[in-house]
């Protein structure tokens, strides 16, 4: 698997229980909501620990990659705005409708989650453009395409869909809720 992008890295290699969790908690307090923290640890118990801890603390556990003896845990810090889940972009489909469009082969799916979230599971064929990079990558999109914007809960994709339509993209649709409830095919990269 290619290197997954993270915003912050915590080196917890060589630490034994409970230190990886204690350090992770401290580290995540210092980072911005929505950012991705990579925790590198060698304690084999850290996988279960980090996953359980992140879910309890309300953060998003993305996944773990093993490289030799090192476990690379990816966590995305919780963001309150997303939890509210209010969307205002008018053109909306649900997951099932998107599935139908995909089987008809007419949809271009843009995944605006962080690249680490994308790496641990996305809709096959979806293009990764994290919300923060949308401005710089907007030219990669084709105005003629039927664009479906997806994220985890429909919130970031709402912002992205608004931005795209402001920029003149005509056929833009937000997918709600998105990957948090996605039960169709998933591809990892």
């Amino acid at each position: 698997m290619a290197e997954i992008k993270s915003d912050h890295i915590l080196d917890a290699k060589g630490m034994a229980c409970p230190m990886p969790i204690v350090k992770t908690k401290k580290e995540i307090e210092s980072i911005e909501a929505g950012k991705v923290l990579l925790v590198e640890a060698t304690d084999p118990g850290s996988k279960a620990d980090i996953k359980a801890w992140a879910e309890r603390a309300g953060h998003q556990y993305l996944g773990t990659n093993e490289e030799g003896d090192t476990l690379k845990h990816y966590i995305r810090k919780a963001s309150e705005e997303e939890a509210e889940g209010e969307t205002s972009f008018e053109n909306v489909v649900n997951n099932d409708e998107l599935k139908q469009k995909l089987s008809d082969g007419v949809a271009t799916v843009i995944d605006v989650r962080e690249s680490a979230e994308y790496a641990f599971g996305h809709i096959p064929g979806a293009k990764s453009i994290p919300l923060g990079e949308l401005d710089s990558k907007i030219d990669e999109l084709n105005n003629e395409d039927d664009i479906y914007v997806v994220c985890r809960t429909g919130n970031r994709s709402d912002l992205a869909a608004k931005k795209l339509s402001e920029k003149g993209y005509k056929n833009v649709t937000n997918v709600v809720p998105g990957m948090s409830e996605w039960d169709g095919d998933v591809e990892k990269a």
């Binding site: 060589g14 034994a16 229980c17 409970p18 969790i21 204690v22 992770t24 908690k25 801890w53 603390a57």
Partner: protein, 159 residues
């Protein structure tokens, strides 16, 4: 997030291994954003003693107790395989190899994480331990102080 949960541990034992377990759980719970209190009573108080020669005024019995009981976390005996002092040496070697934190570091980490370390005043009196013999930042209290924290604890342990 929901209301902060509480973890409360009574550390009765003065064994190194048991105290370690108590402090590992406490530190883990603090990372879970629990409000954590460790209530040290009887032999558990020895984990909080300073490893220094102090001469607070004491009665003869108190002095005897003071001499016989271990001074501080790193001088506690093991609950098993003590072997006249060889056991703790061996286990500390193994711990070093596995990067497990020694007890005194776990205690500092607990203080850093704002875990309340409570010393039972009644048993301090019985064992003749004075406040100045214990580490800095220790709160003194009795059973009521413990119950106040413990009554709505999500986790309550007696170690």
């Amino acid at each position: 997030m929901s209301e902060q949960k509480k973890t409360n541990i009574i550390l009765f034992s003065g064994d190194y291994d048991r105290a370690m377990a108590a402090y590992i759980i406490a530190n883990g719970a603090a990372a879970y954003d629990h409000k954590v209190t460790i209530f040290h009573t009887f032999w558990g108080l020895n984990a909080l003693r300073k490893d220094e020669k102090l001469r607070p005024s004491k009665t003869f019995m108190e002095k005897m107790f003071g001499k016989m009981m271990p001074k501080g976390a790193e001088n506690l005996p093991l609950s098993k395989m003590q072997y006249a002092g060889m056991g703790p040496k061996m286990i500390k070697n193994v711990m070093k190899k596995h990067n497990a934190m020694p007890l005194d570091d776990l205690i500092s980490m607990a203080q850093e994480q704002d875990i309340t370390l409570l010393a039972c005043t009644m048993t301090m009196d019985l064992l003749g331990l004075k406040e100045e013999e214990l580490l800095e930042g220790i709160e003194l209290g009795g059973v009521a102080a413990y119950i106040a924290d413990g009554e709505d604890g999500a986790i309550n342990l007696f170690i």
